[in-house]
């Protein structure tokens, strides 16, 4: 071996050691799940085939709102390969599920496997056909004869909120499924007396999550034991297990819900679906395995959608640019049902909860109504409400800056909660713990050399180019504990998480959690946390998640909770197992505990070469009786629950640079920067990936993605040709700057960050586009902003019509 190559080997060994030791948390460990997922060896639900498995196809409503007068299934039942055809009538033994809540002014709609008596959106499942293949099942769908009596379509949420509107749920007596109000100080009076007021009617259109893997459910049933296992592409298998236990009257011990590899969720897989209820019911009724795989058309028609809010908002400032009051009236179009378990409230209420953002605004008044329409339900979507609240507040900030003749960054820094002002309670009642608000904004600006960028903009403008710079700042609550449930008053606990760590008799480490991975790399990051606190090696730790049987209460992954909560539980359990390792080794090596160290999967005596691998240790503990006194033997296991009680804030500043073609109005993103604070980083590479993906979705929300229902309630964006999502060519290079302000309120100092990219990006892009066209006197109040919308705004302003911009004159 040459000297150089010896050196190289030594260096790479050193690098390897550095990667696994001494700090595993904080290292950019390559995702351990990727070799499997990238070589086609992942196991998604649809990859799973059970013996004798049957396939479901649903006949879905083609009416927006109608009474079901009759269903004739006789021809379909006789069709080739058809085993059964079920309607709601056949499912009478299945209990409806309700997303209940203790909240006032809230109505919970029943959720059933198939539409009963009435359909409330196009795409709602009405009949389930079960056949030997999906092809045959779809052929039989055409033989069903359903008679409908059409009712008034309920499409416009503002009309739907009026007492005169047709009602989707007569028993509710109104389409307003929920209303809430937050009030601090006297916003109206402060606005009336303010020097500067900016306002607008903001519209963020409906969006759909479009996970790469469509929803898929496979129920396997063992008649002899009355045991049902549902394999589901879900973010929340534990919540589904609990809901199905109620729906099917089955104890959890006979009902297991497993989410194997899941190909993206973004919130769209975080709720209970009618198809899940149906597949479980059908497997039990027929006594065999039943599978349903959504196709893309079904996904676009019936997976929970996001956003869809109208926000009338006004921001008032004093002459120096200090914000004094914010007022908002929000209407959320929540669709036809109140989704389980989150309720119809989740998305619109988060809008009013988070509108004040990272700013000090003494007077706040926010009102929200969630209004039912004959569209699919909205549910949690990456960011939940905050993409809209951030869009509104950050646009208002820019409008105010323009009005005051101030730089938008300077205005924000002036109004932000300063580093010495934490904790701070905003007008909606949320308390921000210490978090890097100003630091992130300063870092994003430094990354682009902001003054220089503005100078470049001036040059570009002088040359007739439409060049815009947009910043957006936000704050969110993540890793929420038991005292602040994710949606208030719900009968589920989102605030704790359990880790169950065991070293078995072969010395292998298994760590089981109640969370679920949808692609975000939890298998790696949780293994890193366990390895760090156990003294193990990342590659030796098998992480189990997405299985309702793994821990007693396994809710899943949503709300940027998994790193904080599961990471915390992992820490507690790993530390306890490590203590047990040391106690056992102390007997076996006849050494005082304080002279032992555990690392790299072995326990050794400091300063000697005496060591036991986990395997040797485990054999001694479990198999080689007598080596440890009987009364000192302990299983090398620990189950710990972590509750951050309140949770912690997280923040980022996004900065977008756009250039618009002044002839064609094509909008091109030139650059994107995110400076984020997610506290202590577990794996910087994975955080970067989460930011990149989130920003890409935010760009989609800002420029491309919109679910459109026409006046008849038909979804006219029912394929990916019409519902367009950004591809690699539409996403610019993204710089990510990490400000690691460790949270003081969570174990390890972690903050949640899975959703953040999608929260900041739409506002940053909107501000950049608005900045680019500011010389034309146009405001951007509606997202997504397409070339077509830009064209219309420009034409309107040319014709001296009101371009519906919100500046007071």
């Amino acid at each position: 071996m040459t000297e150089a190559s010896t050196k190289q080997v030594a260096a790479s060994r050193e690098a390897e050691e550095l990667a696994t030791r001494p700090k595993i948390v904080g290292a950019s460990v390559k995702r351990t799940e990727d070799p499997r997922l990238l070589t086609g060896k992942g196991a998604y639900v649809d990859d799973r085939k059970a013996a004798g498995m049957l396939h479901v196809a649903f006949r879905r409503s083609d009416h927006s709102h109608a009474l079901i007068k009759s269903i004739d299934c006789s021809a379909a039942r006789k069709a080739d390969g058809v085993v059964a055809v079920f309607t709601a009538e056949d499912m009478s033994e299945v209990n409806a599920v309700f997303a209940t809540s203790r909240m006032k002014n809230y109505y919970a709609t029943p959720i059933t496997g198939l539409a009963t008596d009435k359909v409330r959106y196009v795409g709602e499942p009405v009949v389930g056909v079960i056949a030997r293949s999906r092809y045959l099942a779809e052929d039989a769908l055409e033989l069903l004869d359903i008679a409908y009596e059409p009712l008034a379509v309920v499409i416009d949420p503002e009309e739907a909120a009026k007492p005169s509107s047709a009602l989707l749920h007569e028993e509710a007596g109104t389409n307003v499924l929920c209303s809430r109000e937050f009030k601090t100080g006297d916003a109206e009076a402060a606005i009336a007396n303010a020097a500067v007021r900016v306002s607008g009617r903001f519209r963020f259109h409906r969006k759909t999550p479009t996970a790469m893997e469509n929803r898929t459910y496979l129920a396997e049933y063992e008649p002899g034991r009355d045991e049902l296992t549902l394999y589901t592409s879900s973010q929340v298998p534990g919540i589904i297990r609990d809901a199905l236990s109620d729906a099917l009257d089955m104890p959890g011990s006979q009902l297991r819900v497993i989410a194997p590899d899941v190909g993206g969720g973004f919130g769209g897989k975080a709720s209970l679906y009618p198809e899940e209820i149906f597949v479980a019911f059908a497997a039990r009724r027929l006594g065999c395995a039943v599978k349903w795989t959504s196709d893309r058309m079904e996904d676009l028609a019936a997976t929970s959608q996001g956003f869809d809010q109208i926000v009338d908002a006004e921001l008032a400032l004093d002459a120096a640019g200090n914000a004094v009051a914010l007022k908002a009236e929000v209407i959320g179009d929540v669709g036809a049902y109140s989704i389980y378990p989150w309720t119809a409230v989740i998305e619109p209420v988060q809008v009013v909860s988070f509108l004040p953002g990272p700013y000090k605004i003494a007077n706040y008044h926010g009102r929200v109504r969630g209004v039912a329409t004959s569209k699919p339900p909205t549910g949690p979507y990456r960011g939940v409400g905050r993409p809209t609240s951030t869009f509104v507040t950050e646009r208002l900030m820019d409008m105010a800056a323009q009005r005051l003749g101030m730089d938008p960054v300077a205005l924000r820094l002036r109004n932000m909660i300063q580093p010495d002002e934490f904790p701070h309670r905003i007008g909606s009642g949320i308390i921000w713990d210490q978090c890097a608000f100003t630091e992130c904004l300063n870092a994003a600006c430094a990354q682009v050399d902001y003054p220089n960028l503005r100078a470049r903009q001036a040059e570009a403008r002088a040359a007739g180019r439409w060049f815009g710079i947009g910043v957006a700042c936000y704050a969110e609550l993540t890793g929420i504990g038991s005292r602040i449930s994710v949606a208030p008053g719900m009968p589920i606990n989102t605030g704790t998480e359990t880790a169950k760590i065991a070293i078995d008799s072969t010395g292998a480490v298994t760590a089981a959690f109640g969370v679920t991975a949808m692609g975000q790399g939890l298998e790696t990051t949780l293994a890193q946390v366990v390895a760090e606190h156990l003294g193990g090696r990342v590659k030796d730790i098998r992480v189990i998640q997405g299985d309702s049987a793994a821990v007693p209460n396994a809710t899943g992954s949503y709300a940027s909770r998994s790193a904080v909560l599961a990471g915390g539980a992992a820490t507690l359990a790993a530390k306890e197992v490590k203590e047990k390792i040391i106690r056992a080794a102390s007997h076996l090596l006849e050494t005082a505990p304080e002279d032992l160290i555990v690392e790299d999967g072995k326990v050794s005596v400091v300063g000697t070469d005496r060591a036991l691998t986990f395997r040797q240790l485990a054999r001694a503990v479990y198999l080689e009786m007598g080596r440890i006194p009987a009364d000192k033997r302990e299983e090398l296991t620990s189950t710990k629950t972590y509750d951050p009680v309140f949770g912690t804030s997280a923040t980022a500043a996004h900065l977008a640079v756009v250039e618009i073609n002044p002839d064609t109005y094509e909008i091109k993103l030139e650059r994107f920067v995110v400076a984020e604070d997610c506290g202590r980083l577990i794996n910087p590479m994975i955080v970067d990936g989460q930011v990149h993906g989130g920003v890409a979705q935010g760009i989609g929300a800002a420029l491309y993605e919109e679910v459109v229902y026409n006046d008849e309630g038909q979804n006219v964006t029912a394929s990916l040709v019409d519902y367009i999502i950004p591809t690699a060519t539409e996403v610019p290079p993204i710089d990510v700057v990490h400000i690691e302000a460790e949270s003081v309120t969570t174990l390890n100092g972690f903050r949640g960050m899975g959703e953040g990219g999608t929260i900041g990006a739409p506002a940053a892009v909107a501000n950049a586009v608005a900045d680019a066209v500011a010389p034309l006197g146009i405001d951007i109040l509606e997202l997504p902003i397409s070339p077509e919308r830009l064209f219309r705004l420009i034409e309107n302003s040319k014709n001296h019509k009101d371009p519906s911009h919100g500046h007071e004159t």
Binding site: D139, D295, D663, P787, E788, R792
Partner: protein
């Protein structure tokens, strides 16, 4: 999204394919790249009784120099046209346009015969065939005939092909080497069907436009030639005023649709902008070539 039942026949020669088409009595469908047909089957928008697969017919994919013409086989994949040196040399405008057809994976499968027969109003190849005065060779049990591109596109997804017809060759008359050209397109994302597109080929004689062809798409039920605009500019001295008059004529002539992605007004605006850009580029190229 599963297709209704159909029979399947893999033809091994053109004659077998057209015989199968005839046997199906108007109920059969040729499948080439499947990039347009398969989605239509999966949406159950089409219910052919039989699919006649032409992918195994030998020698249907080629680009050949044949004196005054370039001959292209119907099964020639988009990607082959895009990367063909012969096309790049003879028809740089076509070479450029091919880069705008869908995404690479689709270009690897999709064929010129399929694209022309499918006749999407916003597809590049139908527009190119119109611009380049293509002659489409069609064969059925009744024999072989030639349809001029200008007579081929009858409406959205509607062509002059009759039941039993198979498109068997596309012939493109060569252009002069000095001919100027330009292709301009706006789509929502790279690879999407065009919102509007304009292509120009132009010959100049000093300061004069001696010959010009303007093709457009996305602004009507079929791809179009801007005949009136061509007449305005032919034999004219190239000038800003002449270009403006041409653009006005184009905007007046088109009757675009409003759909989700663009209104008729925006498309009309776009087609004018693109025409302006395309005319300038084509003029520039023709002048540079003849210098």
């Amino acid at each position: 999204m599963k297709p209704p039942p159909f029979d399947y026949f893999a033809a091994d020669c053109i004659e077998a394919a057209i015989q199968a088409l005839a046997d199906a009595g108007g109920d059969g469908k040729i499948i080439a790249g499947g990039q347009s047909l398969m989605p239509m089957l999966n949406f159950r928008l089409l219910r052919p009784s039989i699919l006649i697969d032409i992918n195994r017919i030998p020698d249907l994919a080629y680009v050949r120099d044949d004196g005054d013409e370039i001959r292209i086989g119907p099964l020639t994949r988009h990607r082959i046209l895009e990367t063909s040196d012969l096309i790049a040399k003879q028809f740089p405008v076509l070479h450029e346009a091919m880069g705008y057809v869908a995404h690479l994976a689709i270009r690897n499968r999709g064929t010129i015969g399929g694209s022309l027969s499918h006749a999407d109003p916003a597809a590049e190849l139908p527009m190119m065939s119109l611009l380049l005065d293509a002659r489409l060779e069609v064969q059925s049990n009744a024999g072989r005939r030639t349809i001029e591109a200008r007579d081929f596109f009858l409406g959205a997804l509607t062509t002059a092909l009759e039941d039993g017809d198979m498109l068997v060759e596309v012939r493109l008359p060569k252009l002069r080497e000095e001919t100027g050209w330009a292709f301009e397109e706006v789509a929502r994302r790279s690879g999407d069907f065009a919102l509007a597109s304009v292509a120009v080929i132009m010959d100049s004689d000093g300061d004069w436009v001696s010959d010009i062809r303007i093709g457009m798409m996305g602004v009507g039920e079929t791809p179009m030639r801007a005949t009136e605009a061509e007449n305005i500019l032919t034999g004219q001295r190239y000038s800003e005023a002449a270009v403006a008059a041409t653009v006005d004529a184009i905007r007046a002539a088109v009757e675009p649709n409003t759909d989700l992605h663009a209104s008729a007004d925006y498309r009309r605006h776009l087609v004018g902008i693109l025409a302006q850009q395309a005319l300038a580029k084509a003029w520039d190229r023709s002048r540079r070539a003849s210098r």
